[in-house]
């Protein structure tokens, strides 16, 4: 294996994020470039501590045990993200300083949303752009897209006390 050579070749990164610490959450193949068809540099075991170097598309560049390569973006849990939802405030202040709720630019500040007036013309226009199922399916087929069976992902951390849903029968009724 030309590990040393590959490490040298992998120096240039499109999105430098510094070297943030992270953990590999599953066994992975370390790839030579951000592509499913790229050569495998090494195997990395679940639980390995890694340095997160960069991101590109759905890929993350990591350094682990002196080797550098790419894995799927969802295969790495960055330690910053692992602090949990409760620590979000701490997380944000540590990462990027104070969060200031500045009014947004053009048109979408909270105040502007609150005072927005119903626009029937725009809604009618939106209706005009609506397409039917035949058109959407044909358009997908034209790009070679085919529907696949994939099951919904269960919530890894179900919180019964979130209180987000209230009492309703939407899920359980018809």
């Amino acid at each position: 294996m030309n590990r040393k050579l590959l490490v040298l070749l992998l120096g240039l990164v499109p999105f430098p994020v510094g070297a943030a610490p992270g953990t590999l959450i599953k066994d992975e193949d370390l790839k030579s470039s951000p592509s499913a068809t790229a050569a495998k540099v090494a195997s990395v075991a679940k639980g390995s501590s890694v340095d997160v170097l960069a991101r590109e598309g759905g890929w993350t560049q990591i350094r682990v045990g002196g080797r550098t390569g790419w894995v799927r973006i969802l295969s790495v849990r960055s330690s910053v993200g692992a602090t949990g939802a409760g620590d979000l405030a701490a997380l944000t202040s540590r990462r990027e300083g104070q969060v200031v709720a500045v009014a947004g630019l053009r048109g979408l500040s909270e105040e502007e949303l609150k005072s927005a007036r119903f626009n029937a013309q725009e809604l009618a226009l939106m209706d005009r752009y609506k397409v039917d199922q035949t058109e959407a399916t044909g358009f997908a087929r034209a790009a070679g897209l085919t529907a696949r069976q994939v099951a919904y992902l269960p919530d890894p951390k179900p919180t019964s006390s979130s209180g987000g849903t209230g009492n309703n029968v939407w899920e359980f009724g018809q």
Partner: protein
């Protein structure tokens, strides 16, 4: 009709005073019980005769102009349906229409028919992979530099021009739309409205007379399009992310397209005004990626490689 019992009036009065404590579940339950009682008394006998679930005509085009109340849907029935979590698809669309119309009042559609058609074709293909393919799904790119996307009940979905410009391919667009489709199919906004509604309903039922269904819906959703500024709870966002990844995969696109967009948004500086609203209403993208990673684990390992469809991606100047 019986006179309204004094102890219930008292409870309602306490309820109004207790708005600040609105999260207390006991209080909400008590309030709902009162409302249910009251609604029973007011029920239109004709409404009782009709079955609660009207036959669905999913592809029937909804009223393109300002919503007009259908005569056979008394406004009390809509409110009741919302409080009980039993809104029909038509009622969902009526509520969504009002939110969508208001949002469009804040930011109109980008004047580019090719773009809008393109987004509808991609969006509907994604929505067809969900368990609610028959909703009258509509997608639009709105003219704002903000980086955000929105959904309203009944199948209204919006992406800002600011977010669209950051996308690299059709799969990423599909991923963003799929997240919003997730909010719609799980009725996240309706649940939020249902919750906040228990209190607001007191005013509209026992206080000022609401003259029309339009006005009732506007009362339900609050001022203008503030419902989209308020945001959902974090769990709803994580759920929409999980659904988003799955619908993207089902549609044949790159499974990692939505995570790629999240990572990109995570690189926008927090102080940047274009992400103020997004970061206020959603967990940080890094946190969302972490949650997604945990949920996905190796469950998608056997899904065949999806497509990015970069070649025909409609670039917005």
């Amino acid at each position: 009709m019986k006179p309204f019992p004094m102890h219930l009036l008292h409870l309602v009065f306490c309820g109004l005073l207790g708005i600040g404590l609105a999260q207390a579940g006991d209080f909400e339950d008590a309030l709902k019980a009162v409302l249910k009682e009251k609604l029973k008394g007011k029920e239109n006998p004709q409404a009782l005769a009709t079955p609660p679930q009207q036959p669905v005509k999913p592809t029937a085009p909804a009223q393109p102009t300002a919503p007009t109340p259908p005569a056979e849907k008394p406004k009390d029935q809509l409110l009741k349906a919302l409080l009980q979590g039993k809104t029909s698809p038509e009622e969902e669309v009526r509520i969504g229409q009002q939110i969508a119309g208001n949002l469009l009042g804040a930011a109109p559609l980008v004047r580019d028919e090719t773009l809008q058609r393109y987004v509808n074709r991609v969006g509907l293909w994604v929505a067809l992979q969900s368990e609610r393919p028959g909703l009258p799904w509509r997608f639009g790119v709105i003219d704002s530099d903000d980086i955000n996307a929105f959904a309203a009940p009944g199948g209204y979905i919006f992406v800002t021009k600011g977010l669209y410009r950051r996308l690299n391919n059709e799969a990423e667009l599909a991923g963003v739309l799929a997240h919003e489709v997730g909010h719609v199919i799980r009725r996240h906004h309706l649940k939020l409205l249902q919750k906040s509604q228990a209190i607001a309903a007191v005013g509209s039922l026992f206080g000022s007379k609401v003259s029309s269904e339009d006005q009732l819906i506007q009362n339900i959703i609050g001022n203008g399009a503030e419902v989209v500024a308020r945001g959902l709870d974090k769990d709803a966002e994580y759920e929409a992310d999980r659904i988003g990844v799955v619908l993207t995969a089902r549609a044949g696109y790159d499974v990692y397209a939505l995570p790629a967009v999240l990572a990109d948004i995570g690189h926008v500086a927090k102080g940047d005004k274009r992400v103020s609203l997004l970061f206020k209403t959603h967990p940080h993208p890094e946190e969302r990626l972490g949650r997604l990673a945990e949920a996905v684990g190796d469950l998608l390992d056997n899904v065949p490689e999806g497509q990015s469809v970069a070649s025909r991606f409609y670039r917005l100047r």
